[in-house]
């Protein structure tokens, strides 16, 4: 059997924690030299490729939406539970009890999945949100699988070397010499600078 070109990195996820009813879904696949992000509506697929050699940074930002979702699901479950308890009619109790149970199950699954997050992938030309990584635990697992592929494509830097390179890079980006005052840069010194009116 021929080897498959892509290996699944994440399962298909809705574009947000609250997107239970949404049809827009996203997932990630690992290719030979790139990460493939597939966004699907169910009937069409859109592809975005992030080449390992181009990925500059991965950012995970923990969000609070998992708590909000769990609270909403829990409240609805409690409401249905109360109706089931004090509704009187056994049929009403069964219907609302079952619905309450479903919402409670949703809340438990949400809490068990752990903290939610937003994940961003930075290249030289874009900062792209990765919609399929919406849980911290899953994002870290994906990161674990990506790390060796990125190291293979870009090389590996030791911790202190990376820190010093980052300091140098920050100094160059912000225009400040490391540990010193910013050196004034004249527009005329840059041969690639577009023509401009100086203040």
């Amino acid at each position: 059997m021929a080897e498959r070109e892509y290996v699944r990195l994440t399962h298909t996820r809705s574009r947000s924690v609250f997107g239970i009813v949404s049809t827009a879904r996203s997932n990630l696949w690992l290719g030979i030299d790139h990460v493939l992000c597939i966004e699907t509506t169910g009937y069409t697929e859109t592809y975005k490729r992030f080449y390992y050699r181009d990925i500059q940074a991965l950012i995970i930002r923990k969000t609070e939406s998992w708590k909000i979702l769990a609270a909403i699901l829990g409240l609805v479950a409690a409401l249905f539970g109360l109706i089931a308890l004090f509704g009187g009619d056994p049929i009403v109790a069964w219907i609302f009890g079952s619905l309450g149970g479903l919402f409670l199950l949703g809340a438990i699954i949400d809490l068990a999945a752990g903290p939610s997050c937003a994940c961003y992938l930075r290249t030289a030309v874009q900062v792209e949100e990765v919609p399929s990584l919406i849980r911290v635990r899953r994002a870290r697992k994906a990161l674990e699988r990506l790390r060796p592929l990125l190291a293979e494509a870009q090389g590996r830097l030791a911790g202190d070397e990376l820190a010093s390179r980052f300091r140098e890079w920050m100094a160059a980006e912000t225009g400040a010499a490391p540990g010193g005052a910013a050196a004034p840069v004249m527009a005329a010194e840059d041969p690639n600078a577009p023509p401009r009116v100086m203040p």
């Binding site: 696949w29 500059q56 980052f166």
Partner: protein, 195 residues
């Protein structure tokens, strides 16, 4: 781009203390818990694009698009000579802008493909969803069969995907068409026997 590394929430420039930590670290500006990993590509300088080199000797090979510029490479798709400006390199292959555009439009260069229609999902949806209101299947079942047969060999998803949806769509739609045929046959024969 090579702009500073920013907090995705407050857009404050991240510092060394917030980068490459094993755990979530609060942003120094907004306090959002962040885990930032940077890789060597961040420090790589972006090389500026090359210009075409002007012809020096008259009989030198020149660019197809710029006759005054020296050819440096042939297009891997059409064989036209290209100068450094027209040479679009794509993972070791060289294309002229025309072939790159055609390859993208016609799906010949798989790496440039950024959208596909999932005809198998469409066929399956046509064969299943209308079952909720059964009368619609008189129209949708033949449509599902048409889509399934018409796009049997069309490329499916870019990642591995079997033909199971198409097979299911054909089976379900065939059953629906068969059901309608039987129903119409009985209705016409009963009407005939009463008449």
């Amino acid at each position: 781009m090579n702009s500073p590394l920013l907090c995705p929430r407050c857009k404050a420039t991240l510092t060394e203390a917030e980068v490459n930590r094993a755990e979530l670290t609060p942003c120094h500006s907004c306090g959002a818990p962040l885990q930032v990993e940077v890789y060597p590509a961040l420090f790589r300088r972006v090389t500026p694009g090359r210009d075409g080199e002007a012809l020096v000797v008259e009989d030198e090979a020149s660019c197809f698009y710029h006759p005054q510029k020296k050819a440096v490479v042939p297009c891997d798709a059409c064989g036209r000579f290209l100068c450094a400006l027209c040479d679009c390199e794509l993972h070791g292959e060289h294309f002229c802008p025309g072939c790159l555009e055609t390859g993208k439009r016609k799906g010949r260069i798989k790496r440039l493909e950024n959208e596909r229609t999932l005809y198998d999902s469409i066929a399956l949806a046509l064969a299943t969803f209308p079952l909720l209101i059964f009368y619609f299947t008189v129209v949708t079942a033949p449509m599902a069969l048409f889509v399934a047969f018409r796009y049997w060999n069309a490329p499916r998803s870019i990642v591995h995907r079997t033909k199971i949806r198409l097979v299911l769509a054909i089976i379900l739609a065939s059953l629906q068409v068969g059901g309608w045929a039987v129903a119409i046959f009985f209705l016409t024969t009963r009407a005939g026997s009463h008449g």
